[in-house]
Symmetry: C2
C-alpha cells in the first residue's frame, strides 16, 4: 500500500486550447489516480465541501482509500488558477487561495502508519515532514516538490529530501535546488543529499534517472493533442510510486521501468483538461500506449557495425 | 561515396567555458570529419588561403577527398563570430564576413557527379540547388539548413527540400518552416513537402525521426563537459549520411541507427572547441560511447507486468 500525501484542489486552468473552471485537481488527486492503476493506495489530503463529487466517485472507482481525505464541511478547497501559453512547460500562477490548506496538519490514519510506501506529493515541506514523522515502519519514500518551496522553505525541504529514497523534480527545480546549470551535476549532487535516486522530469523532453553512477535517459512520448499539462508531474510520480509498490522492489531496473510508466501516465494526463485525461485510462489502453512508445524508441543493435569499422581501421 | 557541400569557415567562438579565435569550422568541415568515420566522402566547399593547414591535415588524415575544396589564393575564408550563454542551444551571431563565400558557385568534380549520396550541408539554398543540378545520377540527398535561409530564401529552400530524401532541421527551424508550434505536426508536414524522412534535432533534448506514419524518438547522450555546441548539428548530419552510405541503404531501421550515431558524434563535437572534439574520435572511442549510450537507454520489457494488470482487472 502507498500513502499519498498532497493537495486536493479546485483548479481553474487556461491553455491555448481551452479553459476550465474549478475542476478537481491537486497533487494528491492526480498521483492517486495514477498510482491506483498499479497498487492499492490511500489519499492523504484536505478538501472543502466544494470538492467535486465526481472526482470522489472517480477515486472510489479506482479503489483509492479515502480515510485520509479530510473533507471540511463549510470550508472551501484549496484553489489554484493558472494559465499556459504555447510553451506548455511554463505555468503562470494567476491566483492561489489556500482555504482549507491554510492550517492543515495531516493525521495519517492509524491503519496506514506501517504502509511500506509513501509518496510525499508536492506540498509544504513542513507538512511533508509531519507525515514522515507519523509513519511507524520505515517506508520507502518518494518526494516531489516545486520551485516555490525551494525558494521559501529550503531548509525544511532539505531535511525532507535527506530522509527520502527517491526525489522527483523538474529540470528547472533541479538546477535551482543545487545551484548549477548542468543537469548532470544537479542529478548527481542530489544523491549526496540523501536519496538513493533522483528523477529529473523535463516535460515534453522526457526524464532522467540518476543513481549511484548510473544515468537512465528516456524521451517523452510524442503525443497530440496536448491540451493541459496540469498534473503531468504528479501523475508521473504516482505511476512511478505505484509501479514500485506493485513490484515491491526499488532496484535500478524497477525504477527505470517505473519511469517508463510515469511517462505513459503523463502522456494521458496532458491529453485533456484536469483529471479528464486520466479518467479513461485502463490497463488495455496503457498496453497500447506502451507498445507505441516501445516502437518509437527501438533501434537495432549497432555493435557489429562499429566493430567492423574498428577492423577496417 | 558521399559528396558533402557546405561552408569551410574560420570561427571565433565564445562560450561560458572559453573562447577561441579563428579556428577551422564550417558545416562541410564538421560534416566531413563525422561522415569519414563511416564512408568515403569528398568535401565541396570554398576557403581562403587563411584556412588552417592543420584542419586540412586532419581532413586528409581521415581520407576526405579534397578535389572539391576550392582554396582561393589571396582571399579570406568565410568568417563567423558567435557567442553562447549558459543556454548552449542558442547562438548569438556577432559577426559574419562572407569573403570567398560572397560569389561562390561550386563545381562538382566530374568524378564525383555520379556519387550515390549527397549531403547538402547548411548553406545558401541557391548553392544547394546548383549542386543538385550538377549531379548526374540520382543521389540519395540529405539536406540541412538554418533559420536564416528559412527567413530569407524560403522559396528556393522549398524547392531544394522538395528534391531531397531526408531533411534535417532543428526544432525551432521545423516550427518556423511549417508555421506550427507542434513538432509532431511540423515533422509530419515536412513529409508532404517531398522528403521521405524528416529529422528534427533538439540539441541537448535529443532528436526525432518522422517517416510515413512512423516516429522515432531518441534522447541526447548526457555528457560533460559541454564546452562548445558549434558544429553539433553538422557532425550529426555527417554521421547520419555517413552511416547510411556505409550501409548503402536508407530504410527506416537504418535511418534510426544513423540517428544514434549522429547523436554520439554530436556528443563528441560539443566536448571541445571547434573541431577539437572530433579530432580524437576513433571507432574504439565510438564503441565505448555507444555502449554507454545503450546502457543509459535500456529498460526491461514491461508487457508481462501490464498484462498482469489487465488480468487483475
Amino acid at each position: 500500500m502507498i500513502v499519498i500525501l498532497g493537495s486536493a484542489a479546485l483548479d481553474t486552468l487556461a491553455t491555448p486550447f481551452g479553459r476550465v473552471e474549478r475542476t478537481a485537481g491537486g497533487s494528491a488527486t492526480y498521483a492517486s489516480l495514477a498510482a491506483s492503476l498499479f497498487a492499492s493506495c490511500g489519499i492523504l489530503a484536505v478538501a472543502g465541501e466544494d470538492f467535486p463529487a465526481d472526482a470522489l466517485d472517480l477515486l472510489r472507482a479506482r479503489g483509492v482509500a479515502l480515510e485520509g481525505l479530510d473533507i471540511r464541511r463549510g470550508e472551501k478547497s484549496f484553489h489554484w488558477e493558472g494559465s499556459y501559453g504555447y510553451d506548455l512547460n511554463v505555468a503562470a500562477t494567476l491566483k492561489t487561495e489556500l482555504n482549507v490548506l491554510a492550517n492543515y496538519h495531516p493525521c495519517v490514519p492509524p491503519s496506514w502508519r506501517k504502509a511500506p510506501y509513501l509518496l510525499l506529493g508536492n506540498m509544504h515541506p513542513g507538512i511533508q515532514r509531519e507525515v514522515l514523522s507519523q509513519m511507524e515502519g520505515e517506508p520507502f519514500v518518494f518526494t516531489d516538490t516545486m520551485n516555490y518551496w525551494i525558494e521559501s522553505q529550503k531548509e525544511t525541504l532539505m531535511e525532507v529530501v535527506s530522509r527520502c529514497d527517491v526525489l522527483l523534480v523538474n529540470d528547472g527545480e533541479a538546477r535551482q535546488l543545487i545551484g548549477t546549470a548542468s543537469l548532470l551535476s544537479a542529478g548527481r549532487t542530489i544523491l549526496s543529499l540523501g536519496p538513493q535516486a533522483a528523477v529529473i522530469k523535463k516535460g515534453e523532453h522526457g526524464c532522467l534517472l540518476f543513481s549511484d553512477g548510473d544515468v537512465f535517459s528516456l524521451p517523452a512520448l510524442p503525443v497530440e493533442p496536448v491540451k493541459d499539462p496540469t498534473g503531468a508531474g504528479d501523475s508521473f510520480a504516482g505511476a512511478v510510486a505505484g509501479f514500485t509498490a506493485y513490484q515491491n522492489r526499488a532496484d535500478l531496473d524497477t525504477l527505470r521501468r517505473a519511469l517508463v510508466l510515469g511517462t505513459l501516465m503523463a502522456s494521458f494526463t496532458v491529453s485533456d483538461f484536469g483529471v479528464g485525461g486520466l479518467r479513461p485510462v485502463t490497463p488495455e489502453r496503457l498496453m497500447h500506449r506502451y507498445l507505441d512508445f516501445r516502437r518509437s524508441l527501438a533501434f537495432t543493435e549497432l555493435s557489429e557495425e562499429i566493430r567492423s569499422l574498428q577492423r577496417r581501421g
